[in-house]
């Protein structure tokens, strides 16, 4: 079984689940964490039982997990009384962090205590890490001041500055015309310990500068989606990227 953890509003996740139906793919949402049947034994995680799309599933039957949602959002918990939503969201996040970390199957990406999608690096941290790896970067600057003029958020800064997006999936990468940019993107993903990453450059030549990275790439390209599937179906001992 393949599991996609996502918001219930994530149309891409729903499309992936439909596309991967022959692999028994199913959507895991916050609502599944409010269903009787979860059993997670810390000392024997293989004997755990999960609830996925309302179905009871033994953890050892799960062959791969794609994570497409960084946390558990209160807005996904409309079935919980409003005054308890923040608490329940933090409990569910803490639960998922432990459970997903202990799964032995491939998980894209392995969660961290600050983000289920992987390391919760800010824009500046991606730029700094890339620069230290010898990758040409567009420096990141930030100015925070009361009543300062509005500056675009980092995502729109990256998008407006980007001409090339390279998506790394495990040991493969897609989207670059220049092998150097492929190599840079894979190097940054390895440094971050992730198997799924979008890396942005301001051009497509060897002199292009890295402008940012994103743990939550848009999965619409057939080649990329097939690579994600192949990664999730790999035997768990072959998980070379994205693991810890």
């Amino acid at each position: 079984m393949l599991v996609v953890y996502a918001s219930r509003h994530d149309a891409t996740a729903q499309a992936l689940v439909a596309r991967w139906a022959e692999h028994d793919a199913a959507l895991l949402t916050a609502a599944d964490l409010s269903v009787a049947g979860w059993r997670y034994h810390l000392d024997s995680p293989d004997d755990s039982t999960a609830i996925v799309s309302g179905r009871r599933v033994e953890a050892r039957r799960i062959s791969g997990v794609l994570i497409r949602w960084p946390f558990v959002h209160e807005r996904e918990l409309s079935h919980i009384i409003p005054e308890d939503r923040a608490y329940v969201a933090s409990e569910m996040f803490a639960f998922l962090l432990g459970w997903l970390t202990q799964l032995k199957c491939p998980v894209l990406n392995r969660p961290t205590p600050t983000n289920l999608l992987g390391p919760s690096w800010r824009h500046e941290q991606w730029i700094h890490t890339a620069a230290k790896l010898g990758i040409r970067v567009r420096p990141a600057r930030r100015h925070v001041r009361m009543h300062a003029p509005h500056t675009p958020d980092e995502q729109s800064q990256m998008s407006s500055a980007s001409q090339t997006t390279v998506i790394v999936v495990g040991d493969e990468s897609f989207g670059a015309n220049n092998p150097l940019l492929d190599a840079y993107a894979r190097r940054l993903a390895r440094a971050a310990g992730v198997g799924l990453l979008a890396v942005y450059f301001d051009g497509d030549g060897a002199d292009a500068a890295l402008t940012g990275a994103n743990l939550w790439p848009e999965l619409v390209d057939d080649e990329v989606i097939d690579a994600v599937l192949a990664h999730l179906l790999r035997p768990s001992h072959a998980e070379s990227s994205g693991g810890r």
Binding site: S34, L97, R145
Partner: protein
Amino acid sequence: MILLWGIAQEYPLAAVREALLRLGAKVAFLDQRAVLETEITLSFAETIGGKLRVGADELALEDVRAVYLRPNEWRSLPAVKQAGEGSPKWNHALGVEDAMVSWADTTSALVVNRPHLMAANASKPFQAMQISAHGFSIPDTLLTTDSEAALEFWARHGQIIYKSISGARSIVARLTEEHRERLADLSWCPTQFQEYVPGRDYRVHVVGDEIFPCEIISVADDYRYAATKGIDTQMRACRLPDDCAARCISLTSALQLSFAGIDLRLRPDGRWYCFEVNTTPGFTYFQEVTGQRIDESVARLLISADA
């Protein structure tokens, strides 16, 4: 230069600040209550630069060699809370918090402790895996939405406790017969149950390679809240067996923390259990009773990085 960040009156931060001043260190203090007057400029490439300005005071972040962080929840700052979500003041406070965390997670200065590492104890099962990997026993643990599973676990262990999975509402309580009819409510949200481990509690503060163990004598399930139930608690400085002390230091180091508060329990059969590693220890509560100078140890650690 040593930078402190938090609320000036908060006890641990105030204690470290006073210790630093007694030891003659150069200290800059970023008071969260001045968040609306705080201005930050950051520049990141291969090197990290920036400036911190509060009113007329300015600090070049390149000059900071050590940082002690104890920021409070920024949404609770009176000026921010009063302004409300989405207001310019709210957005500014969020921007200051985010910029400071980004800088603290990345700077080459000694940071006690880096924000992303402090987050590890926000998930007790996640941290328990790390604790177990470093030689301490951990209680048998079940996380479940299933009342039948909870009843089986209860029957197997005889006495069990429940506590939050995250750091929120983190109070330990024994499961009693009064809870039996409420177990159906487990289906709303996963709940953590653990075997009850009898024994004596210890709080161990680790600062670099220095260790400050404190023995706690209390019959409460959670000694931190014993007074609210009228239960007496006594605390005193103590020594740990060498191997246990070494494990505390190596666990702290493995978690990449410079300062930690470790909760241990010694079972009557001699096994040491570890329940949690607190990554932002409120040490003054223990220091006042034991006389251990944890504040000076933290100050010395910061000064050593600033030398």
